[in-house]
């Protein structure tokens, strides 16, 4: 008998038609246009090392996560692979026409894709795995692609919430246990550091606020385990925002208050550090509306262990004591099959809730989407007028089984955002932590992402800062800073890489941005090079630029946009930032030390000889009152990092 494959080969050859020449010519011409468009959107003939053109095909914030496909990621095992599959699918999620807010686009990238190819090509573009260098067995095979819905886990949790009960500063509960990460299948969300911009050419800087704190906790966990964190795990704004600062409270009916200061840069005498702080209002705790909380708990096999499910149960127990009797709690688990473990129960019935928590056991694999669906359904059932509903998703990131379309999962979360239910993500355990996915889910679900590695972190996130995490006071908060070319030569935003917005999206209310919770604080730092400073890195243009038409001597102009929760129209606040250098207070110096520390961990090129030792000295002199001990803990970590540097 002949080999049937030979017959098939012959038949296939005969069947294959010659390409249609008109179509061929058209495609080649359009591909060339696409090529030209991409080149135009690139900064120059040589890829700009700071913000390279390889981002050109990335269209939104979620797309940023693609850069987590580092070679390390590619070498990681299958969980990461599944994560990659999910992540790469993210950009396409928001492509469809939508009436709701659209995801922020990433500057630089929007024009890169041929518009006509959007529909068909966009998902494809990102789904292609990195070429050959990846080990074969890891590349997404057809089977995995079709099945690979599973989101890997993530670690994200609500972050800092100013406490419902701020009265007694809780002591740090325990030394963080030192745990070595397991085989590394983690995926982190990050982007290249922001480049230096020339004020005369590109005076406007726009970004979304970020109140996540997951990055700090991940860094701490790495360092406590004896290794400097992966560079991509370092998101400087989340490090800076981890710490409470003594910003003045907003006026009576304002949602938040901006605080601006300008001081010397610790690592560069020729530049200034511009600090922009936002202090969210902290409504009287007694007035808060009843809260509907759905704990969506990952009880898959990988959650086993004292640093995961054990810590999670302890954390929720802590939190329970902060709830009021009229608040309602429900528990949904997902592992293999999703289940409602505790139907909506008044927080007053502590016994029943605790019994349900204690009854949780880990086992099975994770069906994340089923769990989410059930959690949203439960939250919608519980919602009454004037109440706040929030899902707290607790996971180590193994979203690896289940109805399988990662796009559908993210679409689902983004769609539910419209229903008024917030989604926050708490990450537990390292090893297969999918930070990137968790970030993406929390960002799409209008929530925050925090990582819980110790009971003291649980205390911070779920007890001290509960109110902020659970009660939003402003949605879609965007910051735009316009620098005055008459006084500023160059500027650089430190951190917020994953939160960059296009200039025109500032005024576009359909573009999603970060939320700010009750009492939340957000801090952004710019390194600013004054005009005439010897520290200037770029040469002024020989032929000059258009002279400024304003004779203002201000340093910059600050614009903020935000929406009251549940409304569709944004409000605008504008403030001039005077060019007045002041001596930095403890808060400013500490924030600068943390920003410097973050830049050191990322290997920044802007710090000169300034090193970990300088960061330690600066932070040490700026710990202030530090009622919770967070700043002292930071100093300890910096010292450890210094000793690991060599």
């Amino acid at each position: 008998m002949t080999d049937p494959l030979d017959d098939l080969r012959d038949a296939m050859r005969r069947a294959t038609p010659a390409p249609d020449s008109a179509r061929r010519a058209e495609t080649l011409a359009r591909a060339q246009e696409s090529f030209d468009r991409l080149q135009e959107s690139r900064p120059g003939p040589r890829p700009n090392p700071v913000r390279p053109g390889r981002w050109a095909d990335i269209r939104n914030g979620a797309g940023m996560m693609l850069n987590t496909l580092s070679s390390r990621g590619a070498l990681a095992a299958t969980t990461a692979l599944a994560a990659c599959v999910l992540l790469v699918a993210l950009p396409s999620l928001n492509l469809g026409p939508t009436s709701g807010p659209v995801p922020p686009r990433v500057p630089d990238g929007t024009e890169a894709m041929p518009a006509s190819a959007d529909d068909a090509a966009a998902p494809m573009v990102d789904a292609a795995p990195p070429p050959a260098p990846a080990p074969q067995s890891l590349a997404p095979s057809a089977e995995r692609m079709s099945r690979g819905l599973a989101l890997p886990p993530g670690a994200a949790a609500p972050k800092a919430m100013p406490g419902v009960v701020m009265a007694e500063p809780p002591a740090l509960l325990a030394e963080p246990p030192v745990m070595l990460p397991e085989a590394d299948t983690e995926a982190f969300a990050n982007a290249d550091p922001n480049p230096v911009k020339v004020a005369a050419e590109d005076p406007v800087s726009t970004f979304s606020i970020d109140t996540d704190t997951a990055s700090w906790a991940v860094i701490r966990q790495s360092i406590m385990a004896g290794a400097l964190p992966p560079k991509d795990a370092v998101r400087i704004e989340e490090m800076v925002n981890y710490f409470p600062y003594a910003y003045p409270a907003p006026e009576a009916d304002a949602a938040f208050r901006p605080v601006v200061s300008l001081s010397e840069t610790p690592w560069n005498p020729g530049t200034r550090l511009l600090r922009i702080g936002l202090q969210g209002a902290l409504p009287a705790v007694a007035d808060r509306p009843p809260l509907n909380l759905v704990f969506l708990i990952d009880t898959s096999g990988s959650m086993q262990g004292p640093d995961r499910l054990g810590l999670l149960v302890q954390s929720f127990r802590l939190m329970l004591s902060q709830l009021r009797p009229e608040d309602e709690v429900a528990i949904v688990t997902y592992a293999g099959s999703a289940g409602l473990v505790l139907p909506p129960t008044l927080a007053g019935e502590r016994g029943r809730i605790l019994a349900a928590l204690d009854g949780l056991t880990a086992g099975g694999s994770t069906a994340g989407q089923d769990g989410l669906r059930q959690a949203y359904a439960t939250a919608e059932e519980m919602a009454k007028d004037g109440e706040v509903s929030r899902i707290l998703l607790a996971t180590d990131g193994d979203f690896n089984v289940g109805p399988s379309d990662p796009e559908a999962l993210k679409d689902y979360v983004a769609g539910k955002r419209e229903s008024g239910t917030y989604l926050s993500v708490l990450g537990f355990g390292r090893g297969n932590l999918d930070d990137a996915t968790m970030q993406a889910l929390a960002q799409n679900g209008n929530g925050t992402a925090a990582y819980i590695d110790t009971l003291s972190e649980a205390q911070k996130v779920l007890v001290d800062q509960l109110t902020g995490a659970l009660f939003p006071i402003a949605d879609d908060v965007k910051v735009q800073v316009e620098f005055n070319p008459a006084t500023v030569a160059e500027y650089r935003l430190i951190g917020y890489e994953t939160r960059a917005l296009l200039r025109e999206d500032f005024n576009n209310d359909r573009v999603d941005a970060g939320e700010i919770g009750a009492g939340h604080q957000v801090t952004a730092l710019y390194e600013v090079t004054p005009k005439g400073s010897p520290a200037r890195l770029t040469d002024p243009l020989h032929f000059g630029t258009a002279p400024a038409t304003s004779d203002s001597t201000d340093l910059a102009f600050l614009r903020l946009r935000w929406k009251a929760p549940g409304t569709a129209e944004s409000r605008l606040s504008e403030t001039a930032i005077p060019d007045t250098v002041t001596a930095p207070d403890d808060d400013a110096r500490f924030a600068a030390a943390i920003a410097g520390f973050g830049q050191l961990l990322r290997g920044s090129a802007y710090l000169g000889n300034w090193g970990f030792g300088d960061a330690v000295a600066l932070a040490q002199g700026a710990t202030g009152e530090d009622p919770y001990g967070y700043r002292h803990e930071a100093v300890k970590l910096m010292r450890l990092a210094e000793s690991m540097e060599h």
Binding site: R9, A15, Q39, A128, P131, S137
Partner: protein
């Protein structure tokens, strides 16, 4: 001109912004790409669309091409992934397999002599699972070695061999029913 420049060098030049290199590369590889797309989809219109999608997205993707990989291997991989995406968007296996089915109808109408052949091919391809069809498109249609096909598909070479023997087994099982020529 560039007749002697390797695909890999052209790709690297195109990735760094060389317009002419990109044009030359696409000109050189379009036909083979189209043929593969046809073998992956089984429908001419579908293959034209898929080829176009790939070409238009190629400039952006080239940035991620690394010259360690053979260009055609990389390109086929892009194509296979793009084909998967299309299939996924069309949702079900049934629809994905329909390409060969449509094609069968069209062929029947026009080519009387090749009819039996065509029926057999279309019916056979439609009967195979996606991953076997992809593997056959690469190994039979493009004549890649098992190792090359494995690289394109991102699977182990052994898996390719296994899939081919599986295809052989299925084809033999189908043969009495379909009437091998």
């Amino acid at each position: 001109m560039r007749m002697n420049t390797s695909d890999e060098d052209l790709a690297a030049a195109a990735a760094s912004g060389d317009r002419a290199a990109f044009a030359a590369l696409l000109e050189r590889r379009y036909d083979a790409l189209f043929a593969l797309c046809f073998r992956l989809t089984g429908a001419r219109a579908e293959a034209e669309d898929l080829t176009q999608d790939i070409c238009l997205a190629l400039p952006a993707k080239l940035a991620r091409y690394e010259s360690r990989a053979r260009f055609t291997t990389w390109l086929y991989r892009v194509a296979v992934n793009a084909a998967h995406d299309r299939r996924r968007r069309r949702a079900t296996h049934a629809k994905a397999a329909a390409g060969w089915g449509d094609w069968e109808i069209a062929r029947q109408a026009e080519m009387a002599e090749a009819k039996v052949q065509a029926d057999w091919l279309a019916a056979t391809m439609a009967a195979l699972p996606d991953e076997l069809r992809d593997t056959l498109a690469l190994t039979l249609g493009e004549e890649l070695t098992h190792a090359e096909a494995a690289e394109v598909l991102g699977i182990a070479p052994g898996t390719v061999s296994w899939r081919l023997s599986e295809a052989r087994r299925l084809l033999r099982a189908l043969a009495p029913k379909e009437g091998t020529p």
